[in-house]
């Protein structure tokens, strides 16, 4: 065991694997952590928003803003929406504290309690499938849905932000209520799907009796980037999408378009954001039978390079008027929407095949913004009405959440500013 530990930790580029941290165990944990910078940084607080250097590293959990919004987008997603079952505000607060403690451990690459050393008669506290895996840049981001602020529920009706609006029915929507809404959401992003799934599974388990999973979504192949120097990934239609996304290092743009300001009307949400989640099903088979010319016209970019119409490079400034009036890029662009800008963090998904043999796939769209009324809504109104892409997609799930500010330090917890 000892040999194995030292081998593993020496190959970890300064970041301990879950097993190696565990291996030191008990009183030795502090030594193990000290030898491993990533864990110390992740547990020790600070508000460093710089993206993690390597895929295995830990992203700091503490900070002014929650990680998982402007921090570098990881490869995988497990997103879960929960219904709150308990009627007790105290129980809900207690759960949020327990969740925070668990998130603090898991984002540092540590198990939540014992995975195999407890009483033989009891199920292990941690389910164990992430043992031995690196932190994998796991971020956990919580959001509060409109239902939480309902009258006579938790005494929060006076704290519902004006900008947390119920989304209108957009033309063409075909929303499945079983994949929509939720009182709480947790977005788990990581470079390893097992780490993201483990995180949601632990939180669901801790929450049984107080919350119940309403729906969840797995995602892969990030479709937007918060690091513009990186290659823009392609969506399931084969196109580069999200080229012009807000950069995680552009603090001015983030302050203007993403973070809720102190004077925006809901003091508790200062430093937070709003999240819109949409499950967008793509009609994959018909898209695949569409001519290249039409595909490129629909997007307003070429398929190979991703360059806007009439330009040669992906990042060339698009000339909107050169595109067809209903081209997706043209309609979604801030210039077509009075400057409305959102930070996209979506993922591709495929949930296998539907009963008709069609690939059940598309885009799980996640957008962060300072005000839903000035971000997602005007853009989606425009797109729902005119976008040529609508022939090939359908919005089938929808949810909106207020995303509280970051957890400042080890005594802080998710939602303190709302409940305290």
């Amino acid at each position: 065991m000892t040999d194995q530990v030292s081998q593993e930790s020496s190959t970890g580029a300064g970041t301990p694997s879950r097993r190696s941290v565990l291996g030191w165990g008990g009183a030795g944990l502090a030594i193990g952590a000290a030898a491993a910078g990533g864990t110390v940084a992740a547990l020790g607080g600070g508000s460093d928003m710089a993206p993690a250097a390597s895929a295995g590293a830990a992203v700091p959990f503490h900070g002014e803003h929650q990680s998982g919004i402007a921090s570098a987008v990881q490869d995988r997603l497990h997103f879960a929406a929960f219904d709150v079952k308990t009627k007790s505000r105290d129980e809900l607060v207690q759960l949020l504290k327990e969740w925070t403690a668990a998130a603090r451990l898991m984002t540092a690459g540590l198990p939540v309690g014992d995975a195999y050393e407890g009483l033989p008669e009891a199920p292990p506290t941690d389910t164990g499938e992430a043992l031995g895996l690196k932190p994998s840049r796991l971020t956990l981001t919580i959001g509060f849905g409109p239902g939480l602020f309902a009258k006579d529920r938790f005494g929060l009706e006076g704290k519902r932000p004006e900008a947390l609006v119920d989304l209108e029915a957009f033309p063409g929507d075909n929303l499945d209520q079983a994949r929509s809404g939720g009182d709480l959401c947790v977005q788990a992003c990581a470079d390893d799907p097992q780490v993201a799934v483990h995180a949601i599974r632990q939180l669901a388990r801790i929450g049984f009796g107080k919350v119940a999973v309403r729906w969840s979504q797995l995602g892969f192949g990030k479709t937007s980037s918060t690091t513009p120097d990186a290659q823009t990934p392609r969506n399931m239609m084969g196109f580069k999408d999200g080229t012009r996304n807000v950069s995680g290092t552009d603090t001015a743009a983030l302050d203007k378009h993403v973070w809720v300001g102190a004077n925006d009307g809901s003091a508790w949400l200062t430093g937070g954001s709003y999240l819109v989640a949409r499950r967008i099903r793509m009609h994959i088979e018909t898209w695949d039978r569409t001519s290249l010319q039409e595909q490129e016209d629909v997007f307003g970019r070429d398929k190979g390079e991703g360059a806007p119409v009439g330009k040669s490079k992906e990042r060339d400034e698009p000339f909107l008027k050169a595109m067809k009036p209903e081209a997706h890029v043209r309609l979604a662009h801030p210039d077509s929407n009075d400057g409305a800008t959102i930070l996209r963090r979506g993922y591709s998904f495929t949930d296998g095949t539907d009963g008709l043999g069609r690939l059940d796939a598309g885009l799980f769209f996640l957008a962060y913004q300072r005000d839903v009324r000035k971000g997602f809504i005007p853009i989606q109104r425009q797109l729902a009405k005119n976008d040529a892409l609508n022939e090939y997609i359908q919005h089938v799930g929808s949810a909106v959440f207020a995303v509280p500010p970051g957890v400042r330090d080890k005594d802080d917890w998710w939602g303190r500013t709302l409940f305290a």
Partner: protein
């Protein structure tokens, strides 16, 4: 019942470790270790001592034969105390079991077939492993009584059902079907511990083993359920099956009092009852023809609650917070179930095919809310 049920006794009582195969040095050459050594060959089963002190017993088996073998520790009536299967030629295995004072048999089964080569052994003295509190002893005794009562009360109800089948009275048989199962469902983990009875009375068609023919080998409640509710008719075969069901249930009633019951097996049994609900009833799989899943659900819940109530005084001392949670969740799941029956004292529940997806989700959430804390009861009792 679940299709594959492996353990016969509470897992907590049996710890099996395989040595030698992994290359670990085998230091124990008997001399004072107290372990019982068993030399197994293709034709012999030599036991180093036939009398040993009761309590935690360690048995080291070495297979010197050419066939794969297994070792059983059996009660005189062939119930299994402990077992180890798949001991390959040239390998050793260690079985650790808690054995109370009394007479037993060791059985080696070369080729893993037949009755095996038997040796009578005796566990002597007062040893019975860890001393339990009188409180827990009382809980076990009460639960044993409950299990017996459930079996005793089931038999007349099962006879009403069987008689209706034999009389060809379809309506009466349908009406008596779910009620005849209540006692079994309330005590299912114990009922299931008799490995030979469970597959005869409670197996579903998809739970048959490879090579078994549903037409010949499928017996018990669910076979009759299919005839009554799906086919809508009672054939001669069904009338014979009704008699077989009574025969098998009578055997259960006779045996059930001897089941191995410990506080942790009670606690885990309670959790297993909720597992049954979570995997079989909430999906509507268990009673796919009669749609009486909610009756089973209620019975499972009652059985779990009984075990819990008996263990509660001990759990209260060790983990008061857990008890608080369990009280709340038992109450709220009961309330939720009550939505589906008009008469709070009766067992007529809404047919499960009339229960919508959203309602099933609510029931499933309720089961999760109870089963998760219930999985911690064994630890709270074992502390």
């Amino acid at each position: 019942m679940r299709p594959a049920r492996l353990t016969v006794l509470s897992a907590a009582a049996v710890v099996v470790a395989l040595t030698a195969v992994t290359g670990c040095a085998d230091k124990s050459d008997d001399s004072g270790s107290g372990a019982i050594k068993v030399n197994a060959t293709d034709s012999a089963c030599e036991v180093s001592k036939t009398e040993f002190p009761a309590g935690k017993v360690s048995i080291e088996v070495e297979n010197k034969g050419s066939k794969v073998t297994e070792l059983y520790v059996l009660f005189p009536d062939d119930r299994i105390v402990a077992e180890r299967e798949n001991i390959g030629p040239g390998t050793k295995a260690t079985i650790t079991a808690e054995i109370k004072a009394g007479d037993y048999e060791f059985a080696c089964k070369p080729g893993m077939k037949g009755d095996g080569i038997r040796t009578k052994v005796k566990a002597t003295g007062q040893g019975g492993g860890d001393k339990r509190s009188p409180e827990l002893d009382a809980a076990v005794a009460s639960y044993r009584k409950y299990v017996q009562e459930q079996a005793d009360e089931t038999l007349p109800k099962a006879k009403v059902f069987a008689d209706a089948v034999k009389a060809g009275d379809l309506d009466a048989a349908k009406k008596a079907y779910a009620l005849s199962r209540l006692g079994w469902e309330r005590t299912e983990p114990v009922a299931e511990s008799f490995g030979d009875i469970d597959p005869k009375v409670d197996v579903r068609e998809d739970g048959l083993e490879a090579g078994q023919d549903p037409a010949k080998d499928w017996t018990g409640w669910h076979r009759l359920e299919k005839s009554l509710f799906q086919d809508g008719k009672i054939g001669d075969e069904d009338k014979k099956l009704a008699d077989t069901l009574i025969t098998d249930l009578t055997e259960w009633q006779k045996k059930v009092g001897q089941a191995e019951i410990t506080p942790t097996s009670m606690a885990n049994g309670a959790k297993e009852l909720l597992d049954e609900v979570a995997t079989g009833k909430v999906t509507g799989e268990e009673e796919r023809y009669s749609h009486t899943d909610l009756v089973d659900f209620k019975a499972n819940l009652e059985g779990a609650q009984k075990a819990y109530e008996l263990l509660k005084p001990t759990a209260q001392k060790n983990d008061a917070e857990l008890v608080k949670q369990l009280d709340t969740q038992f109450a709220s799941l009961s309330t939720l179930l009550d939505k589906y029956r008009a008469d709070k004292n009766g067992y007529e529940f809404t047919s499960y095919d009339k229960v919508g997806d959203a309602e099933r989700k609510e029931l499933s959430d309720g089961v999760n809310s109870l089963a998760e804390p219930l999985s911690k009861l064994a630890a709270a009792v074992a502390k």
